[in-house]
């Protein structure tokens, strides 16, 4: 999500599942929707069957998605930026862009500050000692009026369009083919097909998932795709967009709710320790418009933040104490899960909680994880299933070769309910919050997560009340007005995050009118106040539970426009909008680009249509307000400013373990120069002379992560761990289908059955033959399926420079027949 927000303004799937059916071209790249999201993928087969869509799959492997594709093109793992950079070059050099859209709705015309440059793999401002950029030149020229300067003719050599063209001119078809290993004719065929969607009445949707995020340059891969979509005019359109298919059922929700090291709910951010002062903290985030007449919705930041503090701390949060600003922990750095395990490894973390998360399977380099967990004083696992993490101290032979007597970690394992045993809501990839109901009691004494958190919290609070201790104020004052304190009801919690009026809310336009009475549920985030008169636990979720009741439980599936926007089914954030940035589906005059796909339109007095307008409803066309209302400049960003760690334009960098030992574009800067690599992990990278094969990990359709190995039906479908290799590599190594093989990296080994397939072909890359080894992840030492090795025994401990998402998709291994 760290690429969509900088580009468009919000970090989420722009469109939604059913909308895929409206596409003319569908690109699945950096994901494998048919296998990982089969029921969402049905809208791909629908688009093919009923919209005569062309379906393109680009992947190192011929996947189940490719099985029903019109065009499949292979590429080497980790080279997606080169491929998409080549696409951008193609679109620009063949003049296949949606000119009117690009000019009006992107920052193509904006003038970039002097001093910005790109040279031999590095952008201006790089500090080789800290591996960080000084990003001060990655900015617009700002005039004396405080607004960014633009050149509507797009001819100024310092305007974004010119810099973009120059940057990507290096990505010629030959360069692409040389880096990616994609045959040139196939690459050009893909470009040709995609280029057709530059017509205003044709759209392409891009569906991606962790096949993009799990690279050391993952965020920039997504950004390259997002930029291509802006050039094609496909963002905000029905059947368009850049669609992040989240991996888990509520990862969208838990991210929206800010359960990350540096976030607060609703994409608000925690203060850094360099921000001691509340006013400065708000001022930095409440962005003023950078162009005249723009909405720049983050101007309202203080309302969201203050309302959150009122939800958490109730009366204790007051203007006088800056709404408990000092009670929020201040960051010195980001403590993502890789950092947490690094600290554990260094013996600096004493306690760890895992709530419904099995990091021993999910985080790279298992040996390092076991070492870290063994150094903890205590580990608390809250889960419905007996996970490997909770059993990390158990000896399971070669699958988990540890000595329990030497592990001093206390482990407390708490059984939680599963989906079927609780009420509540999940947020799907398409941002729909859908309510579900309890169908049976849990097994044994299992409890809902909320009750477990309540049990722990109330006990901790009691200890602080009795004994005092380190800074007890936030714990003692945390609002806890639930009817049954040890068991907060899901309904109460949902009403709490929606928010309510803490005093009568008076209409600012007509002081005689009361919008809401004290205690009433908010209708939406437009009602939020910065004076403490509203409480809201997650501003983007305001509207989920209003005075009308639970909007997430709505079940009217009618679709009057036929475009799939079922506005009365569940609730979508923000404000029940189904397609983000839908103002961009109309031209400047308010007329839909494509009359067949009329999402919204200007009816003479207001914006209306098949979707809730993602725009100020009464701003008429021709006004200068632009569709990307979260951005201070109101437009989509081709030039990413200082929002990304490694540059305002994407650049191809090799995976940290590269099979070609160089970067053909700039041999001096091979891999992401801004990535964070811990000292010991750098030493644990392997070289291609010892590990000649490009490996990638993934899910297969029969299993879900590490859960379904505990279910019999899934265990029947794929009972035993396997890896996939192509026929050519198999022949070279004397491996037959059904042989047991050993696969090892510089961090450890796994053994598995070999599936030998025509679906993985060797690629010619930079004068070298590159073979891929495919490694499905789903096995471990607990479960009904046959015991196997955790695939993360092999993977490297390095992440994307923006999100720290581990590089699971590109690393190096060796392989041989297991001589046992």
């Amino acid at each position: 999500m760290a690429s969509l927000a900088p580009t468009f303004g919000r970090g989420a799937m722009t469109n939604h599942w059913v909308d895929i059916k409206n596409a003319d071209v569908i690109l699945v790249m950096g994901g494998n929707a048919a296998e990982a999201h089969p029921c969402g993928f049905k809208w791909v087969t629908e688009a093919k069957a009923h919209n005569h869509a062309t379906f393109i799959v680009i992947d190192p492997r011929f996947t189940r998605s490719a099985a029903v594709a019109d065009i499949y093109a292979p590429l080497r793992t980790g080279t997606d930026i080169a491929f998409l950079g080549g696409l951008i070059n193609y679109l620009l050099s063949h003049d296949k862009i949606q000119h009117e859209y690009v000019k009006a709705y992107t920052n193509a015309a904006f003038i970039v500050k002097d001093g910005y440059s790109f040279d031999d793999g590095l952008f201006s401002g790089y500090d080789g000692a800290t591996h960080k950029y000084d990003k001060s030149t990655w900015a617009y020229e700002v005039g004396p009026d405080g607004f960014a300067k633009v050149d509507e003719t797009l001819q100024n050599p310092r305007c974004v369009m010119q810099l973009l063209t120059q940057h990507f001119s290096r990505y010629t078809p030959d360069v692409v083919s040389n880096i990616c290993g994609t045959p040139k004719d196939l690459f050009l065929k893909v470009c040709d097909t995609i280029a057709t969607t530059s017509a205003p009445d044709r759209t392409m949707t891009i569906l991606y998932a962790l096949g993009w995020t799990q690279h050391s340059v993952g965020s920039q891969m997504i950004r390259t795709a997002a930029m291509a979509q802006l050039l094609l005019g496909n963002v905000g359109m029905a059947g368009g967009g850049v669609n992040a298919l989240r991996g888990h059922s509520n990862i969208q929700g838990l991210t929206d709710l800010g359960l990350l090291s540096n976030l607060l709910p609703g994409y608000l951010t925690l203060p850094d320790e360099k921000e001691p002062d509340f006013k400065g903290f708000i001022a930095k985030r409440a962005l003023k418009p950078l162009r005249p007449g723009q909405m720049s919705y983050w101007q309202n930041y203080e309302k969201f933040h203050v309302s959150l503090m009122k939800t958490w701390f109730g009366k204790a949060a007051a203007k006088e104490n800056d709404w408990c600003y000092d009670w929020l922990p201040k960051l010195d750095k980001v403590y993502d899960v890789l950092m947490a395990f690094e600290l554990m490894h260094q013996g600096k973390l004493n306690g760890y909680f895992c709530q419904g998360f099995n990091p021993l399977g999910s985080i790279p380099n298992k040996a390092k994880l076991i070492d870290g967990l063994s150094k903890l004083k205590y580990l608390v696992v809250i889960d419905p299933l007996a996970t490997e993490t909770s059993c990390f101290w158990e000896n399971h032979g070669e699958y988990n070769d540890v000595d329990p007597s030497k592990i001093q970690t206390e482990v407390i394992r708490l059984p939680s309910t599963c989906f079927a045993e609780e009420n509540g809501s999940l947020t799907n990839s398409g941002r729909w919050l859908q309510w579900h109901y309890k169908g049976a009691p849990p097994p044994g004494d299992a409890k809902p997560d909320a009750d477990i958190m309540a049990g722990i919290f109330l006990k901790l609070k009691e200890l602080y009340q009795k004994e005092g201790g380190a800074f007890p104020d936030p714990i003692l004052n945390l609002s806890w007005d639930y009817k049954i304190p040890r068991s907060p009801a899901p309904e109460e919690l949902a009403m709490e995050y929606n928010g309510k009026a803490l005093a009568d809310l008076i209409d600012p336009k007509d002081k005689t009118k009361t919008i809401l009475k004290k205690g009433q549920q908010l209708d939406g985030f437009a009602q939020l106040m910065d004076d403490g008169s509203t409480a809201c636990g997650c501003w983007i979720y305001a509207g989920a539970w209003t005075e009308k009741g639970n909007m997430m439980a709505r079940r009217d599936n009618s679709d009057p426009s036929g475009l799939g926007n079922t506005l009365n089914w569940a609730f979508a954030w923000p404000a029940n909008r189904r397609v983000l940035y839908n103002r961009a589906s109309c031209d400047l005059s308010g007329k839909p680009w494509d009359p067949k796909r009329k999402l919204i339109y200007w009816d003479g007095s207001k914006w209306t249509g098949a979707d809730v307008p993602d725009f100020k409803p009464d701003i008429e066309p021709g006004n200068s307000m632009n569709p990307f209302i979260m951005q201070p400049e109101g437009v989509g960003r081709l030039f990413g400013l200082d929002k990304m760690a490694e540059g305002p334009f994407p650049e191809h960098y090799e995976p940290f373990e590269t099979p070609i030992d160089t970067n053909p574009l700039h041999p001096k800067v091979i891999s992401n120069p801004a990535a964070r690599v811990f000292k010991n992990d750098m030493e644990a990278f392997g070289k291609s002379k010892d590990y000649p094969y490009a490996a990638t990990t993934y899910r297969i359709t029969e299993h879900f992560h590490f859960w379904t190995k505990h279910t019999r039906l899934a265990a029947i479908l794929q009972p035993e761990q396997f890896i996939e290799i192509g026929e050519e590599l198999a022949k070279e190594k004397g491996i037959n289908a059904g042989d047991r093989v050993k696969v090892w990296s510089n961090r450890g080994f796994i053994k598995a059955m070999a599936v030998v397939t025509k679906r993985i072909k060797p690629l010619q890359v930079n004068g070298k033959t590159v073979h891929h080894v495919g490694i499905p992840i789903h096995w471990g030492f607990k479960g009904i399926a046959k015991s196997g090795f955790l695939a993360n025994t092999l993977t490297p401990f390095v992440g994307d420079a923006n999100t720290q998402t581990p590089e699971f998709k590109s690393f190096l291994v060796n392989i041989e027949k297991d001589r046992r």
Partner: protein, 293 residues
């Protein structure tokens, strides 16, 4: 007496005419291989609905699993990686009972009422009547029925006759994520197939077509194939399936001549004895007989 919720038109080894006044629409399941992603949801939905569970096996160097139909797996996906003039194609076929209009299994079955055909076209096994001779296995041109080692009875896809009887679609049809499996009247399914074939032809599959083989009188499970001229590409789908000579003989002889029937029954039992060992059911029957005395 009138227990049937579906009207029976034919029963194995039974010459008594079936009631035939009621006319129900003929149903069919259409499997569009060009839409299939081989996710195996149909395999799971089948086991879940029918309360069967196959064994947790091993990997055999391919994605297929379970490797074959069994008394617990009434449908399996079969994966073929085929190099054609279009390049690599991954042809994935859901295998299972075809519900032939002219069912070889029923024709070859010596146990009265063990195999029935409903007027809607579904061919169903009634295991309580099955004597485990295995003759239906020999009689099936698609190699579908499987004998259980646990109870020596033969099992196969019922086309979810229990669901269809109350107006629902089969479990595999309902679950299919991409709509590769659809269900309706046979007439509607043929019409649906026409649209799919036209789409495939427009994408360059000149030989796209339907698989509804005439040698077995047509089937109530049909395929849309990208290469209808070469069904063998799809893990050996037979080009011209027909009921074998032996079944034809049985069929011709049995009706008028009871003695032939007995002989054929004996042959079936013998074949079963040879291939599977002594039949538990006949032991059971003998035991019951003993107890009677």
């Amino acid at each position: 007496m009138a227990l049937q919720s579906l009207d029976i038109t034919r029963r194995s080894a039974t010459t008594i005419p079936s009631p035939s006044q009621r006319q129900t629409p003929e149903v069919a399941k259409l499997i569009d291989i060009s839409k299939c992603i081989g996710c195996k949801a149909c395999q799971v939905a089948c086991m879940e609905w029918n309360d069967t569970r196959d064994v947790v096996g091993t990997n055999h160097g391919v994605l297929d699993n379970p490797m074959d139909l069994s008394e617990n797996s009434w449908t399996v996906m079969r994966y073929a990686e085929v190099q054609t003039d279009r390049g690599l194609e991954w042809l994935i076929r859901k295998d299972g009972c075809m519900h032939c209009a002219n069912p070889g299994c029923l024709k070859s079955c010596p146990a009265p009422g063990a195999i029935v055909q409903y007027s809607n076209g579904i061919v169903d096994f009634h295991e309580e009547n099955c004597i485990g001779c295995g003759y239906c296995i020999t009689g099936c041109p698609f190699n579908i029925p499987r004998l259980s080692n646990k109870d020596s009875k033969v099992y196969k896809c019922t086309l979810c006759s229990d669901r269809v009887a109350v107006g629902l679609e089969p479990a595999c049809v309902k679950t299919c994520p991409t709509g590769a499996i659809v269900f309706g009247t046979k007439e509607d399914m043929l019409h649906h197939a026409e649209g799919r074939i036209a789409d495939l032809k427009s994408r360059g599959f000149a030989d796209a077509g339907i698989y509804d083989p005439k040698g077995v009188g047509g089937t109530h499970v049909m395929y849309v194939l990208q290469h209808a001229d070469r069904p063998a590409l799809y893990c050996g789908l037979p080009k011209d399936p027909s009921i074998g000579a032996m079944v034809g003989l049985w069929k011709g002889a049995a009706k008028p001549l009871a003695s032939f029937a007995l002989a054929a029954g004996a042959l079936g039992a013998f074949l079963h004895y040879v291939t599977k060992g002594p039949n538990k059911v006949s032991e059971e029957i003998e035991k019951e007989f003993e107890n009677e005395k």
